[in-house]
Amino acid sequence: MSVLVTERSRVIVQGVGREGRFHAAQMRKYGTKVVAGVKPGAGGTSIDDLPIYNTVHGAVEATDANASIIFVPAAAAADAILEALDQELELVVAITEWIPVHDMLRVASVLARTSTTLVGPNCPGVISPGKGKVGILPIDSFSSGSVGFVSRSGTLTYEIADLLSREGFGQSTCIGIGGDPIIGLPMPKAVQLLNEDPDTRALVIVGEIGGTDEEDTAAYLRAFGTKPAVAFIAGLSAPPGKRMGHAGAIVTGGQGTAASKVEAFRTAGIPVATRPSEIPQLLREQLS
């Protein structure tokens, strides 16, 4: 058993445009059971051998799906997430970026009343190397092992997974939680999943400037952490008031600085790498 993505996962794809189709194929190639696509109006057809349904309800009824990955464009993405939540799926991964924040506030309010785990939006998704992935992460960077990896970034996640894999640190599960201000699975909760996962022996946490997720994560680990952990924070050199690509990555009012996050992790006894390339060595030291 792994976290979020398991051998039981049966995934539908909401939004079967170019990107959705490409990644559906990639996920299937990796052994993930992708069972249906959803495209309003195209029900009854099939795309790349994938049966298409008009609604998530129809897809779930026919295929017993328990997870969804969403590629629907920003303007309709919140509606797609709500449709998935309405079917009480176990896991919903929203890849879409640029969703209006007020849409996500409403989604978060509904989400709090469900038992669904929403990862994202604006995220690369989840991979349990060797077991499956619900996401767009490039499999070449990942290898199976026992390091649990949580990150707010996309390519930086791949870069660090690559560094870990090269140094022999395979991963149990990698969760790309997304770079938006309002996300479904905040960092402390993602870290908690891995902290409580028997397949995970050590944690790597990659944060960035903005918000207080990293500080809250450090506080959680200080109280409940049971595994060796290493952190990295991107944006050390970012000036206040400038938004660094991710809508969430900004320093305002003296809050959300890299320094405050680094301090929080160090106070919790978690070493913070100055650069990504230091992570494997710090992990080795923590594990010895």
Binding site: G154, T155, Y158, E159, P239, G253, Q255, G256, R275
Partner: protein, 399 residues
């Protein structure tokens, strides 16, 4: 976790005070009588029509306008003209004043603070109310947070009357103004949601000598992800000359932020680009910009990115850091080669390709007029070294 100041998000699209006040007025919140003026003559005309003492306020996107001398009281039209003349065309904290708001001065008895923004950690809007208005509310949030009453309404329900009342009691709003403040607070919350705001703030809300309330100043920031459904607000977006590249980049579909250094940066993925800026800093240099080309960067995207970075005269070297996931290293390399052939940049390029088909990509770049490095750290060090070695005049684009 501290509440309050940490939840104040940055302004994606800032509205001017006069635009924000128009939204308040449309929503039924009382504002002072006034008008916008683009010349001293227009300012005098507005002052004449208002009569009595007026306030002339520079309309620029900076905080602390009062302290910076951007707000001046005038007893008559003559003084209003003089104040407008001294403000218009002048720079306030680096931004040129192109218009002023001329408003009837209020007879102020006291000032309140009202604000609505996002609380990321709680994943809800946060509504704030304080009787300590008119001054830097972020300072109050830090020094005496108990003076700000806060509530977190369910976005599906909106700010309910009981919640607004609770805030008014919590903040100690005098009984005479309670009803009016509750009303303004609920209308302000309505603007926050209807207009896709990340911040909607009235600071101060004047309590006038006759007991009525009036929005003294207003700040509204709009979520740029929602501009597609806010056409009126989208039209209010102003782009200063310094932000032109940021706007151009946005139109192409990637994000660019101008910074203060001289090492141009191009990368894929916000987190990776941030880490690249940090690597440059650790190598003893400073980045000239943040530029994220996003996922699946193809030839024309790489080219557009290079054009923007090279158009910056301060740039002494360019660092291209690509981690190929879905993006293929050889495709990126081909894009860079095309750019080299077409543009012949006058500043040195350092390229780091890793991930999918990076070996093939690096092979394509061999023998070309650029430096290739295997890791982010090595590439950052080389880009910083080249930037320091470059003569100051060399940074010209050879068209």
């Amino acid at each position: 976790m501290p509440d309050g100041a940490d939840t104040i998000e940055a302004p994606p699209v800032k509205l001017h005070e006069f635009q924000a006040k128009q939204l308040l007025h449309d929503a039924g919140i009382p504002i002072p009588k006034g008008g916008v003026a683009y010349s001293p003559e227009e300012a005098a005309a507005v002052a004449t029509s208002l009569g009595g003492t007026v306030v002339v306020k520079a309309q620029v996107h900076v905080g602390g306008r009062g302290k910076a001398g951007g707000i001046k009281a005038a007893r008559n039209a003559h003084e209003a003209r003089e104040h407008a003349a001294s403000l218009l065309g002048r720079e306030l904290k680096g931004l040129r004043v192109e218009k002023v708001l001329v408003e009837q001065a209020a007879n102020i008895a006291r000032e309140l603070y009202l604000g609505v923004t996002l609380d990321r950690a709680r994943r809800r809007p946060v509504v704030m109310l304080s009787t300590v208005g008119g001054i830097d509310i972020e300072e109050v949030a830090v020094s005496s947070p108990e003076k700000i009453a806060r509530g977190w309404p369910d976005p599906l329900l909106g700010l309910q009357p009981f919640e607004a009342r609770g805030l008014a009691f919590g903040a100690g709003v005098p009984v005479e103004q309670r009803e009016a403040v509750v009303d303004v607070l609920r209308r302000l919350y309505g603007i926050f949601t209807a207009k896709d705001c990340t911040l909607a703030e009235i600071n101060p809300l004047f309590v006038v000598a006759d007991g009525t309330v009036l929005a003294g100043d207003a700040k509204i920031d709009v979520d740029d992800n929602a501009l597609y459904r806010q056409p009126v607000l989208a039209a209010m977006k102003e782009v200063s000359a310094i932000d032109l590249n940021e706007e151009k980049a946005r139109e192409i579909g990637f994000s660019y932020v101008r910074l203060d250094g001289n090492v141009g940066i191009i990368g894929n993925g916000a987190g990776l680009v941030m880490a690249t800026l940090d690597a440059v800093k650790l190598a003893g240099g400073d980045a000239a910009n943040f530029l994220d080309v996003g996922g699946g960067a193809k030839e024309e995207v790489v080219k557009a990115a290079l054009e923007i970075v090279l158009s910056d005269d301060r740039v002494r070297s360019v660092l291209i850091n690509i981690f190929g996931g879905i993006t293929r290293g050889d495709e990126v390399a081909k894009g860079i080669l095309d750019v080299l052939a077409e543009m012949k940049p006058a500043v040195p390029l350092v390229v780091r390709l890793s991930g999918t088909r990076a070996t093939e990509g690096r092979a394509l770049l061999e023998g070309k007029p650029l430096t290739s490095r295997a890791t982010m750290d090595e590439a950052a060090a080389e880009a910083v070294r080249l930037a320091k070695a470059a003569p100051a005049v060399a940074a010209r684009r050879s068209a």
